[in-house]
Symmetry: C2
Subunit: 315 residues, 2 copies
């Protein structure tokens, strides 16, 4: 796969995404096989089955794609970045398993299939999420990756900061509060609060996907700053595009109950800016992501295309 | 604290434990302050309060004690090992928060106080557990500790392997299965199964506490093997002593509903071996832990005392 030229036409993005998704699926399949890892006693079959249900067989694998393509454009063979990308995906999938729980968003379907607690049970879903989160860090720290210890520790730091109480989990918490879960919420959430919430809940992990690729590629401080700006703008683009899709698409097309978020009164930028204003903001953010890559030349073409894809995607 | 001589009389163990608990409490308090860490956007106050509720103000802090004392006896100033010990404690506390959930063990009290989902709510408890688990890895990987990248990555690996689907979480899953949660269980669990379950559920993390101290101390392979044997025997001692206490003590003394485990038909070695047999096995395991340290001389006195403490403790 590393034989694909890095300056491939951005129009080929769909093919690149599909190729990446297949490669990541294979890595995830290997990580979730029933062969215990070194040092493990055993993996309970029901737990492993629930982890596999929550991870395998679906999704665009956008986060590993960003990790792999960022690493590639910095000169790292893409295969070398697949495991780190898979770790980010494991973490993303754990968050979906826990978000779907009855006490959280209480969703029965995910990508048109029963959620983990529906296919198994609630206790198993909690433990499967915990195990996926733990496995994500185990994969990043694994010395078998042949990355230096300093790089492996930096990858763990990037992922932990993006996903903990000051990142994704914190964003989920603010989201529950914005829903009025803990006390009555008066009026719409201020736009600045919506932006903060979404930067934490979705943006931080997408930005970390890019950052992890950048660290694998040995990016210097200037490149890390530029790629950080790209990652945050991309994450914001992705989220606002998601909110626009939620309003525009019907449940059948998305494979889950899409009107639900709006019903619960969650603050979105579509609510704050209106549909037209939200689309304008989405395109502005996408352009900001592309602009952040201005210093990088044609090798960053796939990342630019990804920013446009985030704005234009239909599902 | 590093001025305490390493060959302190084992009889002083209570004082050492208390001193360690106070020091760890201070580290945990700092890690769970409302000042966001570098790179964080914000920490939702309700989430942080739930994390603090699940961690602060109690417990023997046995795991950080083992980390600190192992590091100390290998020549590392004990202060340097406190943060790593605190990370192990964060992980232990996350497991308690999730284990107490209604879908899991459904406990209302922990150490005589309301569990996190009772003091807050179920969604907050799930997220608080997730955030504590994530924070544990963030702390171990943090470059501010001045450990080398290779050591920090190795600490992450030790903790992740001990706590994931092949360790603590896997043990919890086998435990739920042994309770008959997923299908009817006929008869008592075989003794070998009980040992495996407990080695995963409790033993793995106690062994990792020792291993993390050993890695901080730059232990060579022979020392890692001996300390691994010590850690596993100590973990098994601790668990069987816990099961004996469950049978012997009343709810008031332990601060939680102790008869509950037996009611649910969980397999314990007390059930398999009888009370007298279990006490004999507990003392054998404690002696095995001490024996594993035979090559180490008087500096390992505190670790030997800890193995005796695990067998003799009354709460």
């Amino acid at each position: 796969m590393s034989s694909v030229p890095p300056s491939v036409h951005p129009g080929d993005l769909d093919a690149r995404l599909a190729q990446n998704a297949a490669a990541i699926e294979a890595v995830l399949e290997a990580l979730l096989s029933d062969a215990p890892a070194v040092g493990e006693i055993a993996r309970p079959p029901r737990l492993l089955a629930a982890m596999r249900h929550g991870v395998l067989g679906g999704g665009k694998r956008l986060r590993p794609f960003l990790t792999a393509e960022t690493a590639r454009f910095l000169g790292v063979p893409v295969e070398q970045a697949r495991r780190a990308g898979a770790a980010v995906e494991l973490l993303h999938c754990y968050s979906l398993v826990h978000d779907d729980l009855p006490a959280m968003d209480d969703d029965d379907l995910r990508r048109g299939r029963p959620t983990v607690h529906k296919a198994f049970d609630e206790a198993t879903a909690i433990l499967a999420g915990d195990a996926l989160l733990t496995l994500a860090f185990e994969v990043l720290a694994d010395e078998a990756t042949h990355e230096s210890g300093a790089v492996r520790a930096a990858l763990v730091t990037s992922l932990a900061r993006a996903s903990g109480c000051g990142g994704m989990v914190g964003g989920q918490m603010f989201d529950l509060a914005a829903e009025g879960r803990f006390e009555a919420v008066r009026g719409a959430l201020p736009e600045a609060e919506i932006r903060r919430l979404q930067a934490m809940k979705t943006g931080a992990l997408l930005a970390a996907s890019v950052e992890i690729g950048a660290r694998l590629g040995g990016a210097d401080t200037a490149a890390l700053v530029a790629l950080g700006r790209y990652g945050r703008a991309l994450g914001a683009t992705f989220q606002i595009a998601d909110d626009i899709l939620d309003v525009e698409s019907d449940a059948a097309q998305m494979g889950k109950a899409t009107a639900k978020d709006a019903d619960k009164g969650k603050g979105t930028l579509v609510g704050a800016l209106g549909l037209t204003g939200a689309k304008r903001e989405r395109d502005r953010l996408s352009a900001e992501a592309v602009e952040a890559l201005a210093g990088f030349g044609p090798d960053a073409g796939v990342l630019r295309a990804a920013a446009r894809f985030a704005a234009e995607r239909k599902s």
